[in-house]
């Protein structure tokens, strides 16, 4: 089943920068995809468009067969809340919430009831190996732990697709490797993952690799 389909996507940023120049990309269910490319090649722009956080200047984005171009803000938001999970370079945890409450935020906009949110968050936190840090504040966690809390938050709604933008970019090598292993495990359990990185060694651990250069995809080729 096709989770995501980009057809002829062009993105021009204000000021005339062409960050994407006609991208075609299909993500099938169960894939683990790495998009690799140098800085400024348009990776983040691509991820934002895949995640419906931004709309393309031209071209179409289909989520589970639905054209997102015709969707309203409410419909797009619901799609993000229920079908997508985001992991960013920074974990973006809310300082005043405990680890488990931060994870529960991933269900806040999905229409899940309060009590269930908490229970599901506990499960997700356990999945990333941080059950014992449940009631800790973000400031009490290491960088790697914070990122794992962020991953738990992205997978707590059992998304059809997890989108990750340089999730190991702010971590040292050993911690980064642990986080990558976690992605590997999640994929083994059936999650569909699209991860963006500038690091070919990170990309090497993924089943499918796509390279991006100056806003264009070179499918299947890894430099």
């Amino acid at each position: 089943m096709t989770v995501l389909r980009l057809t002829g996507v062009v993105k021009e940023h204000p000021g005339g920068v062409r960050a994407l120049r006609g991208v075609d990309l299909v993500v099938e269910q169960g894939e683990d995809l790495a998009i690799v490319g140098p800085s400024g090649s348009g990776k983040s722009t691509l991820l934002h468009i895949m995640g419906t956080l931004d709309r393309p200047t031209r071209g179409t984005v289909e989520l589970a067969g639905q054209d997102t171009g015709a969707m309203t803000d409410t419909e797009l938001s619901r799609a993000r809340a229920r079908n997508l999970g985001f992991v960013f370079q920074q974990s973006h945890l809310v300082d005043r919430l405990t680890a488990v409450d931060n994870v529960a935020t991933g269900l806040l906009y999905a229409g899940t009831r309060r009590r269930e949110r908490r229970a599901l968050a506990e499960v997700a936190l356990e999945r990333v190996g941080l059950a014992h840090r449940r009631t800790h504040w973000p400031s009490q966690l290491s960088g790697g732990e914070r990122q794992r809390v962020g991953i738990a938050r992205a997978l707590v709604n059992r998304p059809a697709l997890i989108l990750a933008d340089e999730p190991t970019g702010a971590l040292d090598q050993a911690t980064g490797r642990q986080v990558l292993e976690l992605f590997g495990e999640l994929h083994a359990e059936g999650a569909t993952i699209a991860l963006i990185t500038h690091d070919p060694t990170v990309a090497a651990t993924f089943g499918r690799r796509v390279e991006i250069r100056d806003g264009e995809l070179l499918d299947g080729v890894v430099a």
Partner: protein, 393 residues
């Protein structure tokens, strides 16, 4: 839907308590405004309650009826006016006096101008309860002294005659129209009937036999059940002077006194104006805090959008945060205002009147101020593009 609002409120509250110092500071303006409003309404309300209590103790149940004097003629009620007044159901006491247009002097040779302000009234023994009067020393006129040359002095009249320290054991005499009268008593002050304080009273029967008094009173005093007082007031002219009810004027001394003491009005308006300014400044303070907060929290906004928050959710979160911030100020101000009102009333020995309607209006006002102040920042937050918000540092 309600769960949705609960979630949004929880988020708003999280925002308020994440920055407690800043929240407190920005809520201060609203707090000041609300506290002022409460003090300005609560303190006068307590003062009014105290006045009402005092008036009612002094005699809110009292009425005074007079005949409007036409030029040249001496008009008076019929002889039986007091008895007719007493026949009105709710009337509990009724009595009448007649001005004898005479002069009282300490000695036959004293300067009449010295006691010019004192009137000489013919009275009956039942006057004292009808005016809630009290005898300070001696006795009032009785059935026995009613026909004798006996006189009772009002408090002010006694002072002017130099007889304030009158002692019943050592009788003194004064002269009314050249005749010698024995002073038998002095009345205590009567704030509700100052004209009686400045009078001396002689028995009606003695006035008939020696002054040619025709028995027709000029003023009728009465007391009635307080709840029926306006009904009594309405029927009084026709009862007392069936032929000329239009000439009868009835007054309630308590009302007159209340009007005299009700002078806080202008100050209240001034303070309410100041409170309005404080509330305006408070609202601007909240708006300012929220604008800064929205700028600082762009990454949080971006994240929430990625997690599936609609523009509407973001707008609601910041709007509720502003309302809670303002409400926090409102609650603090209410507390200060109530404590201030209670404290001031206690200090003055007043009964405490907390203006609950104002408390409710104040809190509702705080919500409205918060909503207005939060509108622009909230809309701005909801319009933030998610990608730019996530890229912000």
């Amino acid at each position: 839907m309600t769960g949705h609002l609960v979630d949004a409120s929880a988020l708003g509250w999280l925002g308020v308590r994440s920055r407690p110092g800043r929240s407190a500071m920005s809520a201060l303006g609203v707090a000041l405004g609300i506290a002022t409003v409460l003090l300005v309404t609560g303190i006068p309300a307590s003062g009014q309650a105290d006045l009402d209590r005092r008036l009612s103790a002094m005699g809110a149940d009292m009425l005074v009826a007079q005949v409007a004097a036409l030029e040249g003629s001496t008009v008076a009620f019929p002889e039986e006016a007091a008895a007719m007044a007493r026949r009105i159901g709710p009337v509990t006491f009724g009595s009448a006096v007649a001005n004898l247009h005479s002069k009282v002097m300490r000695t036959p040779f004293a300067d009449p101008n010295e006691s010019a302000g004192i009137s000489v009234l013919a009275a009956t023994p039942d006057l004292v309860p009808a005016v809630r009067g009290e005898v300070a020393t001696g006795t009032f006129l009785t059935e026995a002294t009613r026909g004798l040359p006996a006189v009772v002095l009002g408090a002010a009249a006694a002072r002017w005659l130099g007889l304030s320290t009158f002692d019943a054991a050592h009788p003194v005499q004064v002269f009314v129209a050249g005749e010698r009268f024995t002073v038998v008593g002095v009345l205590a002050p009567m704030p509700l009937a100052p004209e009686l304080e400045q009078a001396v009273f002689v028995g009606d029967e003695f006035a008939r036999s020696h002054f040619g008094f025709d028995g027709r009173p000029t003023v009728v005093y009465l007391r009635a059940v307080e709840s029926e007082i306006s009904a009594v007031r309405d029927v009084l002219p026709a009862t007392l002077a069936p032929s000329t009810p239009g000439l009868v004027s009835v007054s309630r001394p308590a009302d007159v006194l209340a009007a005299k003491e009700a002078t806080h009005g202008t100050f209240a308006a001034l303070f309410l104006g100041l409170a309005g300014v404080a509330l305006l400044v408070g609202g601007i303070g909240v708006a300012n805090t929220m604008v800064v907060s929205v700028l600082e929290r762009r990454r949080e906004i971006g994240l929430r959008r990625a997690l599936g928050a609609r523009r509407h959710d973001v707008r609601l979160q910041f709007l509720i945060e502003a309302v809670l911030l303002s409400l926090l100020g409102g609650a603090g101000g209410t507390l200060v205002g109530m404590v201030g009102t209670v404290g001031y009333a206690a200090l003055r020995g007043w009964p405490v009147v907390l203006p609950w309607a104002t408390v409710a209006a104040g809190l509702a006002g705080a919500v409205v101020i918060g909503a207005l102040a939060g509108l622009y920042p909230a809309v701005r937050a909801s319009r933030t593009s998610p990608t730019e918000a996530l890229a912000a540092v």
